[in-house]
């Protein structure tokens, strides 16, 4: 079937090619071929129309017109038209078989609709090869159908050969066998087929018997199983599913078992870590942080995989799980305060800061309503107790997870505990309220803190932090963020006060640090803000007068604090880099005019050097400043071998500010640290004290010089950097105008400087890759249409292409219309000619008949006459 179809299709496709596929034909008539001569050979051009067959194409066009146009022309005056309304008559997409099927279906439908709506019983009998389908179904066995199914897929060579081999001759298999065993006489085809049939039938039967046996056996087994099934205890669901299809009703026990199985089991928790492990973890954490710091110091870009530093996560504080011994007591104490003071030192089991707040709220709500009923309090207490019991459980896992971030807290707790004795705290507690709202302005904070002792202030800040922990309420985070800037401002006020309360500041640094760990962004913004303020103030005076006075102690303390809150060794840091610039400005723009300025300047130097203590970075301003200070302490001003820069002057009012000439004072001087208060305001001193201060400043200055010398030793042009210091120190030594300890110090610095090796290795640039030569790669332009201009953008080209196409199509259409008209005219002419010819013929015929008639009549008349 397939073969014939394909053959037919082949013929069909070949047939149309006949009349017009001129090129396909091997020998076209050379007189019918028109060759389009090409002037030039163009490489890569596809030529489509080099040979034309005008005759063939004209014939094709004519045929097409006769089929279409002529038909229309002929039917031009007809109002009615014959239409074949059979289904799918004009639809070429449907194959004839389908067409027949559909027509049949439609017919059936029509019949059903029209006649058989009320005919319920009579069903049309379906047949298959003349046999009733119902009959066939009745005879069919299930097993039989199985075997049928089995046979269906089999298509052996033999089978096909016998079925479809045609009448040709023997099977190839038999043919090969034949020469080997030649005794048997060749069987005829008929015999062969019969044999084959017999064999296959037998096979079929055998298979059927086998299957029946198997079926029987399985049925028997099923029955047996059902009998013993009841006896068996249900062991595993697996055996069940393996055994039979139906499920037994789940009973209560099963359900309970399953429920228990699905219920969450108590997982074994991690064991408590030992001291060593904790220490190791801590060490590991520090090591990681240090590595991170080093990376930032060297200014390398952050690796993609490196995460936020762990200690950044303030979640540890956020979850509120702080095993604080005091809070629980606070809670019970509060209750006690309402009643009588019964349990001032209640149990010390862990309470969280959260419940303190809740408790407080509960109490304030409950109090006005039923303050005299003791029940309410007991209720509250039990509530608190239950919460207590639940609290740690729920939060334990969290705490475990953030073990690493507990580090800072752990470090801080004991130190806090050490400072505050139990008694102090108890006393303080007796006075201070327990809940504080976060102050909304700095004034509010000041009113809270001012006039209290250092410990109280600390406690207040701590309580504010706890009562308004971010985990307790939504808005708390924003409030606490503001607290940082208020605290900073408060510290500034403390530092600016006279005398500066440095002790309080010293303690307040801790909460500041903790807040900063919690809210790095807002903390950095706050520090930036105070720095900007200080710089603006300085900028104003510098612009008008060209120099500025040293700022107050508060600015210096801000700078110091910034260095404690943020890593100072980073290559670039959003807070530290501006702070460094600020320090630099202090050293370059502020002339030293008094001893107080000297102290301030030296403090700035210390802070500056502390900033770079890890990164060992070079600070030109610092060297200049120290040179200037040393210059102030040097008596004779030949100014040999060094030049002073801006804030210092070689000669002038303050050029001998630090010079001590009193031998006695020099002898009685003892080296000690400079009090930072002096930077805030120097009290009037006696001459001896002033001299001692001078010497102390000088000592600090020399110590700083020494530090610089040690730090900058490895720098390439170290000797050029320290050259002014060296010159000053030698001069200083030669004049012998300072105590022996200082002289020793200077001498040791000098030897230190000299001991640094002078390495002057010529500089060499790093090798860079050679730059590749410029290559002239061709510019590729997509060719859309030959023979057209190629320039322009893609859209322009597309547009031009479309215009061109439209033009061609238009021309083609016009041509077609013209040809159609010509064709029609031709047809009309031939019609007219035909009609005329007919008429002529008829006229001739008439004349003919008339002539014969006339002739006959004349003949008759002649006859008469003759008669």
């Amino acid at each position: 079937m397939g073969k014939t179809r394909s053959a037919a299709r082949g013929k069909a496709s070949a047939a149309p090619a006949g009349p017009w596929g001129g090129r396909a034909r091997p020998n076209p008539n050379p007189f019918e071929v028109k060759v389009n001569r090409q002037k030039f050979q163009v490489l890569g051009r596809k030529t489509r129309h080099e040979v034309g067959l005008p005759g063939v194409s004209r014939a094709r066009a004519l045929q097409k017109r006769t089929q279409t146009l002529l038909k229309e022309y002929k039917e031009r005056d007809k109002s009615s038209v014959f239409r074949d309304k059979r289904f799918g008559e004009y639809d070429s997409s449907i194959s004839p078989e389908e067409k027949m099927m559909k027509r049949f279906a439609l017919e059936q439908q029509r019949q059903h609709e029209k006649k058989n709506i009320y005919n319920l019983n009579e069903d049309e009998e379906l047949t298959h090869y003349g046999q009733s389908l119902a009959d066939i179904e009745k005879h069919n066995d299930i097993v039989d159908s199985d075997s049928d199914a089995e046979d269906r897929g089999v298509l052996s060579a033999e089978l096909t050969a016998t079925h479809f081999g045609g009448g040709g001759g023997r099977l190839p298999g038999k043919a090969t066998q034949q020469p080997g065993g030649g005794e048997e006489p060749p069987k005829s085809r008929r015999e062969l087929i019969e044999e084959l049939i017999a064999r296959s039938k037998q096979e079929k039967r055998e298979r059927q018997a086998q299957r029946e046996d198997a079926l029987e056996l399985t049925e028997k087994l099923d029955q047996d199983w059902k009998e013993i099934q009841a006896l068996l205890a249900r062991k595993t669901p697996k055996s069940e599913s393996g055994g039979g299809k139906e499920k037994p009703e789940p009973d209560a026990y099963d359900m309970m078992v399953r429920e228990l199985g699905f219920e969450m089991k108590a997982q074994p928790s991690n064991r408590m870590k030992t001291e060593e492990e904790l220490a190791r973890e801590e060490q590991e954490r520090l090591r990681r942080l240090e590595a991170e710091r080093l990376r930032r110091m060297l200014g390398r870009e952050e690796d993609a995989h490196s995460k936020r530093p762990k200690h950044l996560s303030a979640d540890d504080l956020n979850d509120g799980f702080v095993l604080d011994t005091d809070d629980r007591r606070l809670l019970s104490y509060k209750d006690g305060k309402m009643n009588v003071e019964e349990e001032p030192s209640g149990d010390t089991s862990g309470g969280e800061s959260g419940e303190e707040e809740e408790e407080g709220e509960g109490w304030s709500e409950g109090a006005p309503e039923d303050s005299d009923s003791p029940d309410s309090h007991s209720d509250l207490e039990s509530d608190a107790g239950s919460e207590d019991a639940r609290g740690p459980d729920g939060l334990e896992s969290d705490a475990e997870g953030e073990d690493a971030s507990e580090g800072p807290q752990r470090g801080q707790r004991p130190s806090l505990g050490e400072r505050l004795t139990r008694d102090d705290r108890a006393a303080a507690r007796a006075e201070l309220p327990y809940t504080f709202a976060v102050p909304e302005s700095c004034e509010e904070l000041k009113s809270l803190l001012l006039g209290k002792s250092t410990e109280d202030q600390l406690l207040v800040v701590e309580r504010i932090q706890k009562c308004n922990h971010p985990s307790l309420a939504v808005g708390n985070k924003a409030k606490l963020e503001k607290l940082f800037s208020f605290l900073l401002e408060y510290i500034g006020d403390l530092a600016a006060s006279d005398p500066p309360e440095l002790g309080v500041i010293d303690k307040l640094v801790l909460p500041l640090y903790n807040l900063c760990q919690m809210f790095p962004e807002s903390a950095s913004d706050a520090v930036k803000f105070v720095l900007r303020d200080a710089m603006h103030e300085m900028e104003g005076t510098v612009e008008t007068t060209g120099r500025a006075a040293f700022p107050g102690l508060d600015v210096l303390i801000y700078l110091k604090i910034a260095g404690m809150l943020f890593p100072t060794s980073d290559f670039w840091h959003p807070v530290i880099t501006p702070a460094l610039l600020c320090l630099s400005q202090l050293l370059t723009k502020c002339p030293v005019q008094s001893l107080q300025d000297v102290v301030k300047g030296l403090f700035v130097c210390c802070v500056f050097l502390d900033y770079v203590s890890l990164s060992q970075r070079f600070i030109p301003e610092l060297i200049n400043f120290l040179t200037g200070i040393l210059h102030m302490a040097t008596p004779n001003k030949q100014s040999q071998g060094y030049t002073l820069v801006h804030p210092f002057r070689a000669h002038g009012k303050n050029s001998e500010l630090l010079l001590v000439s009193d031998e006695e004072d020099m002898a009685t001087w003892q080296r000690r640290s400079l009090p930072l208060q002096w930077a805030g305001g120097l009290k009037a001193q006696t001459e001896t004290e002033a001299n001692h201060t001078r010497l102390s400043c000088l000592a600090v200055c020399l110590a700083l010089v020494r530090r610089c010398v040690v730090a900058y030793g490895p720098l390439p042009s170290f000797h050029d950097i320290t050259q002014p210091l060296r010159a000053l120190l030698t001069e200083h030594l030669s004049t012998r105008c300072c105590p022996p300890t200082l002289q020793d110090l200077s001498r040791s610095i000098l030897t230190e400087v000299e001991s640094q090796p002078r390495h002057c290795r010529p500089l060499v640039c790093e090798k860079s890759k050679p730059v590749p030569l410029k290559l002239f790669t061709p510019r590729l332009v997509k060719v859309l249409e030959f023979g057209r201009k190629q320039g322009g953008t893609k859209e322009e080209q597309e547009r031009r292409r479309l215009i061109h196409k439209h033009k061609r199509e238009f021309k083609g259409a016009v041509r077609e219309i013209r040809r159609d008209n010509q064709f029609l005219a031709r047809m009309r002419l031939s019609e007219i000619m035909e009609r005329d010819a007919e008429r002529k013929r008829k006229v001739k015929q008439l004349f003919n008949s008339l002539a014969t008639q006339e002739g006959e009549w004349k003949a008759l008349k002649r006859k008469k006459f003759k008669k």
Binding site: K560, I561, F618, P620, L676, Q677, P762, C765
Partner: protein, 557 residues
């Protein structure tokens, strides 16, 4: 009342030319001029409104009739008053009175004879009147000139504007005879009085001078100011060993506010209105203006100027003085002297010198050597840093400079950079790199493969001659040291020498004016990675840990 008596006399000849003949006769007019009555012309204790009214009456009276001319004395008397408001009223009155008189031509024209001679002589009454009135005018002007030194600024200002008004009117109605037809006349004497008042040696007149500046927009005023100022300045040290600083400041203020028009053109904006301008007048030619300008400045700079004034002059030299001089090379003496002073003055003199060298073919020996000598550590800290480096960049931009010279400059700058603040470093490091880019022969300073290792830097910083400094044998180790600078941008800029330098130069123009505060702001605004890194070592108190320097050297109490 004598006033009423005086009013009756000249009542009959108050108007017009008809009365002129009558006045010519030695009649009552002469007699009416005699008495200088200082009597109660007006009530002193009355309020300012009354004073104004009274003065107004007097002015009206004088203007109305010549017989009332004696009232002028009353007005002039008020001018001598101590009270500021009265003085102002009087000045207004004088301004009105003499303004009207000048416009009417009732003042004597020609060289002024002395008062007694005329009054006792046998001249006509009108002449006598005019001479007398001219004398009053003279004394009024003198008084106004004195008022320029009045402590109150309003009075000063008013006096100045009144004097200028007189100058204008006098210019229109000259008080001297034209020698020939179309002679240009200008009240030189009066104007000298004004300029002399402005250039006071006693006090700083900068406010008044800035008022005066608006008159200087007029071409004639400018021209005559230049003339008058050059005279005044030239006579400044006559008979005085020490000229106070205030005079120099005033003089500089006045001189610097004179600015000539840039391009040639007809000078036609005159303060004194003339019906027609003659081409023969000196005042209309820009060339003459230039001559006067040059003479003024040369006379000013001839003196031993205080250093501060000298600096100020040098600051405006290239922009507002040199282009307007008729012969700029005359400035060479001053500039060389300034250049030899050293320090900031030398830096400033560079600019003028450069223009002379560049535009006027000045041959200046050892220019680069001196420039090299100017480089000392203070160069990064002075106010004129930007200007200096702009010029230095200009001077060293020539590609024909010898390599040793450029190398010496680069090395010197690098050495100085070791003491520079970050804002200067951000500018000078690209500057050095630019030098190396321009002169490939100097690249050995940063790239000397297979060079011998040295014990010490061969560069000699104390050598004054760049040729002898052996800079080419050295390397820029200073930049290597600055790669360790604390500021990240400086460190990056210094690290540029690690790689082979890129070909295009870095423009240092935007870096010249940068200040530390701008860098600070920029750093503050810069957005870093999303999170702010934090210190992981917990704080231990204000002074930090024990090993910190602060804790070592400072205590809290």
């Amino acid at each position: 009342m004598p006033a009423t008596e005086r009013l009756s006399c000249p009542a009959r000849r108050d108007d017009g030319g008809a009365g002129r003949d009558v006045r010519g006769a030695p009649g009552g007019g002469a007699t009416s001029l005699v008495f200088p009555a200082w009597g109660g012309g007006m009530e002193r204790d009355a309020g300012p409104g009354d004073a104004r009214r009274a003065l107004g009456h007097l002015v009206e009276a004088v203007l109305a009739s010549r017989g009332e001319a004696n009232a002028v004395f009353d007005i002039l008397a008020v001018l001598q008053s101590e009270d500021q408001e009265e003085i102002q009223e009087a000045v207004h009155a004088c301004s009105r009175l003499f303004g009207a008189l000048l416009a009417r031509g009732e003042l004597f024209v020609g060289p002024l004879p002395s008062e007694e001679m005329v009054l006792t002589g046998s001249r006509g009454a009108t002449i006598k009147y005019k001479v007398w009135m001219r004398h009053r005018y003279q004394s009024c002007c003198n008084r106004l000139g004195e008022l320029l030194a009045h402590p109150s600024f309003q009075v000063k200002e008013l006096a100045l504007s009144t004097l200028m008004k007189f100058v204008q009117l006098e210019g229109e109605h000259p008080l001297e005879q034209p020698k020939w037809e179309g002679n240009y006349l200008f009240p030189h004497q009066l104007f000298r009085l004004v300029v002399g008042g402005l250039l006071s040696p006693e006090e700083d007149r900068s406010l008044l001078l800035s008022q005066f500046r608006e008159y200087l927009e007029h071409d004639d005023i400018r021209y005559h100011t230049m003339q008058a100022a050059s005279d005044t300045v030239a006579r400044a040290t006559d008979g005085r060993p020490e000229v106070p600083l205030a005079f120099w400041n005033n003089a500089f203020m006045l001189l610097s506010s004179v600015s000539l028009p840039r391009q040639e053109g007809t000078l036609s904006s005159f303060y004194v209105k003339h019906t027609e301008l003659s081409d023969k007048w000196k005042v209309v030619h820009l060339k003459e203006h230039r001559k006067a300008f040059q003479q003024m400045w040369l006379r000013f700079l001839k003196h031993q100027l205080p250093l501060r004034v000298c600096k100020k002059v040098l600051v405006i030299m290239h922009d507002s003085i040199l282009p307007h001089l008729a012969q700029p090379s005359l400035m060479i003496d001053f500039l060389t002297r300034a250049y030899d002073i050293g320090g900031a003055v030398s830096l400033l003199a560079l600019n003028g010198l450069f223009i002379l060298i560049h535009k006027h073919n000045l041959e200046y020996p050892d220019f680069y050597r001196k420039l090299y000598g100017l480089l000392d550590p203070s160069v990064f800290h002075v106010k004129y840093r930007a200007r200096f480096f702009h010029l230095a960049d200009l001077f060293l931009s020539s590609s024909h400079l010898p390599a040793y010279l450029v190398a010496a400059f680069a090395k010197r700058l690098a050495r100085l950079a070791l003491t520079a603040p970050p804002e200067a470093l951000l500018m000078v490091l690209p500057f050095i790199c630019n030098l190396l880019r321009r002169h490939p022969a100097c690249r050995v300073l940063v790239h000397r493969p297979r060079g011998p290792e040295l014990d010490a830097d061969p560069y000699d910083p104390t050598e004054e001659d760049p040729a002898q400094s052996r800079a080419l044998e050295s390397s820029l180790w200073e930049l290597q040291a600055l790669q360790q600078h604390y500021h990240p941008e400086v460190s990056k800029a210094a690290s540029a020498i690690n790689q082979a330098l890129s070909v295009p130069e870095v423009s240092i123009a935007p870096l010249l004016e940068i200040t530390a505060f701008e860098i600070f702001e920029r750093d503050l605004k810069k957005k870093g990675p999303e999170s702010v890194p934090l210190e992981f070592i917990p704080a231990r108190g204000l002074l930090g840990r024990r090993e910190d320097l602060c804790a070592q050297h400072f205590t809290l109490s």
